[in-house]
């Protein structure tokens, strides 16, 4: 059963390729059906995991190494985000790609990306995770270069250069670790106690693996591929920046610190502190760069770089509250950022607006879309009671708990900077301009409603933060065992 979230999207992809370019109805039905089914299965696995039953399934692969997936709470949170947002993004993409070419290729690789992301989420151990992580790189490439223009192909090359370079570092790290410790399943609290004597090797392995995950997590200075990869179609940017790819990177960090090394070993080796410092620098630098971007998607991209480092910093602080905040922010940020990328895609596709300086009158032309964007923007900046506030509150409390007041300062400053780079977008859309004079309001309903729904989620997730099943509650339950079973 734990294989299904990986298998169903992969089969949907094969079906999509076989159906070919022209049978759009069958293709849409197949993909939507697969997406809803996958989301349902992930939910069912999560209900089981809440009851304490973790479904595990392994398959012999290499000598001493099995390929395994399991439905634990940490992984399922990521898989749930990917699967639920796959449903929403599909509707949006069907509208967005209505007249585009090569749709079979697009939807096929889209489904493969989700398959790989679910694999990353549910992998039982570093080797299996690496396998899906590389598959994710490969299946994203055709989406990045989808348009086939010279610009897209350059972006694709940059993406591969970073991603495969990171992948090689990860491979060497994982292989070395496996030689030292054998195949080590992710275990809350760490799986390396037996070999903690190999301090030097463990430090190098941590560095290699963190570099590998850092590429997709866009941890500065490994973030160079992300702004360039913006040339991809909007649904892909949404997927890249909000759901599958970058989250696979930070998710890897979460597994690495909490469940492979364990918070105790990671801080006693000193590697967590280095990671925290890098993440803090990354947050501030990326936020400052975002302030100066006129291109809407670029501004959002640098905001992503900063927000991802929120998560990395939270994990690296090695305190229960911060770790829970990091995992919850992984989910919350997905909903907030996908709203914004959907909006950017709608503006570009319907109004051909790509820059802040061209946004005058947009709010009058697309009031619902821009309202959803505004909600997501305020949520991202951490305004209560929206989703971003809840996770940032946890991250902030975690900083205090970890006795790292400087981290709290970073989070507060980053919140102010987020206001600084989000509010100008809203102001620009409210200015008078000729964009409002065009006929019609809003965009294709298949693009509008997904935006409204994910925008509303920023409110709903914030209001329900204390309830069982909300990302906050889910994340707290999931990280508790890593810190000796104490629910924070």
């Amino acid at each position: 059963m734990a294989w299904l979230p990986v298998l169903i999207p992969a089969l949907a992809a094969v079906g999509t390729f076989v159906l070919g370019e022209d049978r759009a109805r069958a293709r849409n039905a197949l993909n939507l059906g697969a997406a809803i089914l996958t989301a349902g299965i992930v939910t069912a696995l999560a209900v089981r995991a809440y009851d304490g039953t973790v479904t595990v399934s392994t398959l012999p692969m290499l000598p001493g190494v099995d390929l395994g997936v399991h439905g634990d709470l940490t992984g399922l949170l990521f898989a749930a985000v990917a699967s639920v947002l796959w449903c929403v993004t599909l509707v949006y993409a069907i509208g967005y790609m209505d007249h585009a070419r090569d749709r079979a290729r697009f939807f096929g690789f889209f489904a493969l990306c989700i398959s790989a992301a679910n694999g990353v989420a549910l992998a039982t151990d570093p080797v299996s995770l690496f396998l899906f992580y590389e598959v994710l790189t490969l299946t994203t490439y055709p989406l990045v270069v989808h348009s086939g223009t010279a610009e897209a192909r350059t972006a694709g090359r940059t993406y591969l250069l970073y991603a495969l370079g990171g992948g090689t570092a990860l491979l060497l790290g994982v292989a070395w670790l496996t030689v030292i410790a054998g195949q080590t399943p992710f275990t809350p609290g760490g799986a390396l106690h037996a070999v903690s004597g190999h301090t030097t090797a463990l430090r190098v392995v941590f560095g290699l693996m963190a570099a590998g995950f850092g590429v997709k997590a866009a941890l500065m200075p490994l973030h160079g591929w992300l702004p360039g990869a913006m040339v991809a179609p909007a649904p892909v940017s949404s997927l890249l920046h909000a759901v599958a790819v970058v989250k696979a990177g930070v998710f890897g960090m979460i597994r690495l610190v909490n469940e492979l090394y364990g918070p105790e070993l990671a801080s006693s080796l000193g590697v967590a502190q280095v990671l925290a410092a890098l993440a803090a620098v990354s947050i501030v630098t990326a936020s400052v760069i975002a302030l100066r971007q006129d291109d809407l998607k670029k501004r959002l991209a640098y905001s992503t770089v900063a927000q991802l480092s929120y998560i990395t910093l939270g994990v690296a602080l090695c305190s229960p509250l911060a770790a829970a905040g990091a995992l919850a922010h992984l989910a919350h940020h997905a909903f907030m950022k996908i709203t914004m990328f959907f909006t950017a895609g709608s503006l570009a596709e319907t109004l051909h607006v790509k820059k802040l300086s061209e946004m005058g009158g947009v709010a009058r032309r697309m009031p619902l879309t821009m309202s959803a964007f505004a909600v997501a923007a305020f949520a991202l900046a951490g305004i209560p009671p929206l989703a971003g506030f809840a996770s940032k509150w946890l991250l902030g409390s975690g900083s205090v708990e970890a006795d790292a007041p400087w981290a709290l300062l970073v989070y507060v400053a980053a919140g102010a900077l987020a206001m600084g780079y989000m509010v100008p977008i809203l102001l620009a859309s409210l200015r008078a301009g000729d964009r409002g004079s065009r006929t019609g309001i809003e965009s294709d309903p298949r693009m509008l409603w997904p935006i409204v729904i994910v925008g509303a989620m920023s409110i709903i997730l914030g209001l329900t933060a204390g309830m069982p099943g909300s990302p906050i509650h889910w994340a707290m339950t999931a990280v508790a065992p890593s810190f000796g079973g104490v629910t924070p």
């Binding site: 396998l131 270069v145 694709g156 090359r157 070395w176």
Partner: protein, 497 residues
């Protein structure tokens, strides 16, 4: 004795009988006979693998004489694996060839001869994998070499003849050197059977005799036949100018034939350190091959030359095993398993890549990579072939290339020779660089003119099947490891776990 006990002999007799039948019967049944023969060989190969997994290595005494008087065939795990690989790739190549050589133009490419020569080469390859005697290795190498050179020159144009001439020169040079080596070895030890030699070479003083010189010559000859850098000079032109099915067979199978003989000599016959420094030297040359071949592949403007240089690079991976092998135990099992998995994965993927590249050439009517833009739309299946086969070249999961790279890296780290792991990592990145350079062109939005798709869907599906098989080959790693455990490729004094 049942049929199962005669499998090694049948695997040589079946393709030989097919070749003879094709030669004597009317031209109209060439294709049918070749296809039936390919199916029969594949069936026999599957039976052989099952038999070896079930009952261990098989030793077959031709005519019942037995070594040292007679000639023995040895079907151990690795030999069975190579026979199966040859059968699968060979069947796909046969299917492709029936679509590639037009029925209506019987003399184009002189292809009337193709079917006979192809089955004859298959015969010699199977014999080479099965032989347990160093002199027979010479005979098989010559037979493979002659039929391969003839296949390369089938087209008969100036380029093919020049490439064939160079290939013939390399092949003859290697054969002569090998024969000289065998003669020296025989005069020193008086034995030719590998198992008997293995015992003889462990006697004190064996290294001081002419045996060491003889074996050095034999190793050098096999390195030349396997096209390890810097002895690769003949490979790119020969593999690129041959008709496409031949290119695929040469790159995927023929270089593996001489490599397998080398593996037998280095690991199955000589005690560790018998030729001091040779194992490290081979791995160093392999590392240079990985880098040099990849850089050359990156620079090629024509697609088959590009694929051929990728072979030069991929061959390098096969030589990392030698300095690791003497450690024995887990390291040997990992390194040997990784190497054989690499040979298998590369065989499948490279055949797919060559067949796919050949079909792209047919579609576009030229070989220039830069003018194959837009193939992702006009020839999606072929683009998929190139990309999927590329995954194996890069060694990314879930391909067999990933499995082999993983095992070789683990073996290197475990043996304390971590520098090979860096080479393997670098090789993957370089392969990604040269593969994606081509894939990016195929994905371009501007489209170059393509001709109409040929009616034969085999030109697309045969390579796709191979590329997909290579893509999921990591799942076959347990099978490969089971076969490695039934191996005679274990240096004396060293143990498998």
């Amino acid at each position: 004795m049942t049929l199962m006990d005669h499998l090694p002999a049948l695997l040589i007799i079946a393709p030989l009988a097919g070749a003879a039948l094709v030669f004597v019967t009317s031209r109209s049944v060439d294709r049918a006979i070749t296809c039936i023969t390919a199916a029969v060989i594949t069936g026999l190969a599957v039976l052989l693998v099952a038999r070896v997994l079930d009952g261990g290595a098989l030793r077959y005494e031709i005519g019942g004489w037995g070594a040292p008087l007679g000639i023995d065939l040895v079907a151990d795990g690795p030999a069975a694996l190579f026979i199966l690989l040859t059968a699968i790739v060979g069947s796909a190549v046969t299917a492709y060839a029936t679509g590639y050589f037009p029925v209506t133009e019987p003399t184009r490419y002189g292809h009337g001869l193709f079917w006979t020569l192809w089955l004859f080469m298959w015969t010699s390859l199977n014999a080479l994998f099965l032989t347990g005697d160093v002199f027979n290795v010479y005979v098989c190498l010559e037979l493979v070499g002659i039929s391969a050179v003839a296949l390369v020159t089938l087209k008969g144009d100036a380029e093919a003849l020049r490439a064939g001439g160079r290939y013939l020169f390399a092949s003859m040079l290697a054969a002569m050197t090998y024969l000289l080596g065998v003669a020296l070895l025989y005069s020193a030890v008086g034995q030719l059977d590998m198992e008997v030699l293995r015992d003889a070479l462990q006697q004190p003083g064996a290294a001081a005799s002419g045996a060491a010189v003889g074996l050095t010559l034999m190793v050098a000859a096999l390195v030349l036949k396997t096209a390890l850098v810097p002895a690769h000079f003949w490979l790119p032109t020969a593999h690129a100018s041959a008709p496409t099915p031949v290119s695929a067979a040469l790159s995927a199978l023929v270089v593996k034939g001489s490599y397998f003989a080398l593996l037998r000599l280095m690991l199955g016959v000589m005690p560790p350190g018998f030729l001091p420094g040779v194992d490290v030297a081979l791995a160093v040359l392999g590392s240079i091959a990985i880098v040099w071949g990849s850089v050359q592949a990156l620079l090629q403007s024509r697609i088959k030359q590009f694929v051929a240089y990728s072979t030069v690079a991929q061959i390098g991976y096969l030589f990392i095993v030698f300095p690791l092998a003497r450690t024995g135990g887990d390291v040997l099992a990992l390194a040997l398993g990784g190497t054989l998995l690499h040979a298998t994965a590369h065989g499948l993927a490279k055949a797919g890549l060559f067949l796919g590249a050949g079909s792209l050439m047919e579609r576009f009517g030229h070989a220039e990579i830069a003018r194959m833009r837009g193939a992702a739309r006009s020839a999606p299946v072929l683009t998929a072939v190139i990309t999927l086969a590329g995954v194996t070249m890069m060694g990314l999961p879930p391909s067999g290339g990933f499995g082999s790279k993983w095992m070789l890296i683990s073996a290197s780290v475990q043996a304390g020779q971590w520098w090979w792991a860096l080479v393997l990592g670098l090789g993957g990145l370089l392969a990604a660089a040269y593969m994606f350079r081509v894939v990016a062109v195929l994905m371009a939005d501007t489209a170059d003119d393509v001709g109409p798709a040929r009616a034969a869907v085999r030109l697309e599906w045969a390579p796709l099947v191979l590329a997909v098989a290579a893509l999921f080959l990591v799942l076959a790693a347990p099978l490969v490891n089971d076969l490695v455990a039934i191996s005679s490729l274990v240096p004396p004094g060293v143990m498998l776990p």
